[in-house]
């Protein structure tokens, strides 16, 4: 059976690029890269790296951004889930927050920038009646040296991710029962959750937290839009060196990528330390007998933070759309004087090629990821053994190894293998990031499928193949298309993989949008960011509409 190929194929296509990428980083970092004339091992690239001005500050910025982001995201998610799960408000907020997962990071970052910049919407709403400003104040809010706005941009985008991962793990911890038990013992909602559920729940979502740390420590697009510039975070500088026309700078970039690996590892180690500490403290508090019933303020702040997240991203996206059709819009006017389609009309002729590459790469990498995922899951059925812990670790591997560290090496690897930058390389690189999300999205519904349907079909004399294609796959069409939409959204949002592996020759909507950040033409940025946001939305619309049309006369197929 062809499904036998699934697991090895997944290992090859996920671990392969990561490992090749790491080799491609480590060797040039020590001077070895025959394609560029480096035939001896030397410490020269390392020395060059350490001589770069502001290097320590760049590295520390990356480290701090990662740790603060992860801590803030985790706190908001814990307070919100602990304080509100099972309530009606919880469900409503979920409807608000879940779609944010599909918004590309760059679009969300642009939206936030348009909101909080000195000439942004918040300043306009407060001016001049409160602030007295007639002109935008000369404040460095976006690109601030402490990376506060960058951290805020990451926090609002990572909260939906961790929240959805946490929700997926909830059924395994018997939340409602534990809550009832803790309440009957007199514990407050949040304390009951922390002592009764959290230790088990955290084990389930731990890899996702690591992924948030790794991503935040090496993010490039959000850093370019919101992050500090003098000096920028480490990953941004690596991309600069890697794209330098002077190919000798590649050695410097490799050394930088190795440092990035170290920074991310250090962030994880620091996290592990605090994780252990928090575990000890929680256990102590749990034994102390205190009930912490007065947690209303904490609960409310969890809710407020969650609402603020959704509101910030939502308002930012609305602003992007307004800017894309804005005519004259002077400070401190709240709305433009006039509306015009001129930004769209000027931009559309240039959009065709990036749009084509975005669609082709997104569709191909998603298709590949769906195929490999289905093979793996079918194999799981045949062997009767669900994929274990090692498989989950493998899935998270591309999300935990910092992308700036292995993508640069993968670029070098393709260079050494004389594989010209082209769509196949790009699809492979996107697949590495698409596959984990597709698998995580599809494996739940797949495993929850009522296997008695298959027993009945087998009793009717149907072969395994017929059962798969006539029963299981059609009944799971909705979840399969949803997983595909998630994968497509991930591919559309990829910035670093596209810049590195495409070597600048394969522009997508996302890379074009980020490239515009420095120029500051808000109308054109609005057009690109809006497109960036619309593409995933179209994917999800397809995932909803197609099953609804196909099964429009099958009521039970609409419920799930």
């Amino acid at each position: 059976m062809i499904a036998r190929l699934g697991p090895p194929l997944a290992v090859l296509l996920l671990a392969g690029p990561v490992l090749c990428g790491l080799v491609g980083t480590v060797l040039p970092a020590f001077g070895y890269l025959p394609a560029l004339g480096g035939t001896r091992f030397t410490l020269a690239p390392m020395r060059d790296l350490l001589a770069e001005p502001g290097l320590i500050r760049s590295a520390l910025t990356s480290l701090a951004v990662a740790l603060v982001t992860a801590a803030a995201v985790l706190m908001v998610v814990v307070l919100f889930v602990a304080g509100w799960s099972g309530t009606r408000i919880f469900g409503r907020i979920l409807h608000l927050v879940s779609p944010l997962l599909s918004v590309p990071h760059a679009a969300a970052a642009f939206g936030l920038a348009f909101l909080i910049a000195p000439s942004g919407m918040i300043a306009r709403l407060l001016s001049p009646w409160l602030t007295g400003w007639q002109r935008p104040p000369d404040l460095l809010i976006v690109n601030d040296p402490l990376a506060l706005s960058m951290t805020a941009g990451l926090i609002v985008k990572e909260i939906p991710f961790l929240l959805l991962i946490t929700l997926a793990a909830l059924p395994q911890v018997k939340l409602a029962e534990t809550r009832a038990l803790a309440a009957s013992l007199g514990y407050g909602r949040i304390a009951g959750f922390l002592f009764g559920v959290w230790p088990r729940l955290y084990r389930q979502i731990r890899l996702a937290v690591f992924a948030v740390i790794a991503f935040s420590s090496s993010v490039v697009d959000v850093a370019q839009i919101l992050g500090p510039t003098l000096p920028p975070p480490l990953a941004v500088r690596i991309v600069g060196w890697a794209n330098d026309p002077d190919l000798a700078r590649h050695f410097l970039a490799a050394a930088g990528a190795l440092l990035q690996l170290g920074v991310t590892a250090l962030a994880l180690i620091v996290w592990l330390f605090f994780e252990g500490l928090a575990g000890v403290v929680t256990r102590r508090l749990g034994q102390s007998g205190r009930r912490w019933r007065g947690d209303a303020v904490l609960r409310r702040s969890g809710l407020a933070a969650m609402v603020a997240t959704a509101a910030a991203v939502g308002a930012g996206l609305a602003l992007l759309s307004i800017w894309s059709v804005a005519g004259l819009w002077q400070f401190p006017e709240t709305l433009p004087h006039s509306f015009t389609a001129s930004a769209w009309i000027r931009t559309i002729p240039q959009i065709a090629r990036p749009l084509g590459i975005t669609l082709a790469c997104g569709l191909l990498s998603t298709l590949l990821a769906i195929a490999v995922t289905l093979l793996c899951l079918t194999r799981e059925l045949q062997t009767g053994r669900p994929a274990g812990r090692w498989a989950l670790t493998l899935l998270y591997l591309p999300l935990i190894v910092p992308e700036a560290a292995f993508l640069f090496g993968l670029q070098i690897f393709f260079l050494a293998a004389r594989a010209e930058p082209g769509l196949p390389n790009l699809v492979l690189a996107h697949f590495v990031f698409v596959m984990p999300y597709v698998f995580l999205a599809l494996s739940g519904p797949w495993r929850a499928f009522d296997r008695r349907h298959e027993a009945i079909a087998a009793g009717l004399g149907k072969s395994r193949r017929t059962i798969l294609f006539s029963i299981r796959l059609p009944m799971l069409l909705g979840p399969i298309l949803t997983a595909a939409a998630v994968g497509f959204a991930v591919s559309v949002g990829q910035y670093l993989a596209t810049v590195m592996i495409g070597a600048g020759r394969l522009p997508t909507i996302t890379t074009e949008a980020v490239a515009l950040a420095a120029g500051g033409n808000r109308r054109v940025i609005g057009v690109y960011a809006l497109l960036q946001m619309l593409l995933p939305a179209v994917g999800f619309a397809v995932a909803i509409i197609v099953p609804a049309l196909l099964f429009r006369r099958r009521r039970a197929m609409r419920a799930g």
Partner: protein
């Protein structure tokens, strides 16, 4: 082993080294063997073993024959052991007639012929002209009848019943018992029924095996 009917030859099922049941029995065509036992006694595992979809966590030994054909070595789809569960489990993405056409053997050729047989099977369980309906719009009793028509249409060698009446309300339950047992008798099918309801056993009228007590 070549007699007509279903033969269980030294069938034993164990889990984690603990033997749940050991059965040697012959079920004649049209006869209902009722197996009773508390939950966890392995009675559903027995049906899964006969049908060929036993969870690998169980260790099973012994052989199963139907009219001289050994089922034990065959894949589930080669056994033609029709099964009914507590839930009707109609395929939700197919129409009622689609469910029935899915069950019809390939040997019946031609759209018209297949549709006619499906309609006849529906009429046979008192549901004439419901073929175009969405299964989810049927009542509980109607769904159970469609599930019965579907399994009979696949021309099974034996019928396996996994507490198929337990979710029906009382008067519907008696109707379904009579319907299923009379159809099995008419088609001369050996039937294995697992249940924990004494009334099922009485209504089946055949031999009764108690396990796990």
């Amino acid at each position: 082993m070549t007699e007509k009917g279903l033969t269980l030859d030294h069938v034993s099922i164990a889990i984690g080294g603990r033997t749940l049941l050991e059965i040697t029995h012959h079920v004649r065509p049209g006869e209902v063997l009722t197996v009773m036992g508390p939950s966890g006694s392995g009675k559903s595992a027995l049906l899964a073993f006969i049908g060929g979809f036993l969870d690998p966590a169980f260790a099973a030994k012994g052989r199963v024959f139907v009219s001289g054909i050994e089922l034990t070595d065959l894949a589930a789809e080669e056994r033609h052991a029709g099964i009914l569960f507590q839930d009707p489990l109609l395929f939700p993405h197919m129409s009622v007639a689609g469910n029935l056409a899915f069950a019809l053997p390939e040997a019946v050729r031609g759209r018209a012929a297949r549709r006619r047989l499906a309609e006849e099977a529906l009429a046979d369980v008192g549901l004439a002209r419901l073929g175009a309906r969405d299964p989810d719009t049927l009542s509980g009793g109607q769904k159970a009848r469609v599930a019965l028509a579907r399994v009979l249409l696949s021309a099974p060698r034996a019928l396996l019943l996994d507490e198929p009446f337990s979710k029906l309300d009382a008067d519907l339950r008696q109707q379904m018992r009579e319907l299923i047992f009379s159809k099995a008798l008419k088609s001369a099918l050996p039937v294995v029924l697992v249940t924990h309801d004494e009334a099922d056993a009485r209504s089946a009228g055949g031999p009764l095996l108690r396990i796990g007590e």
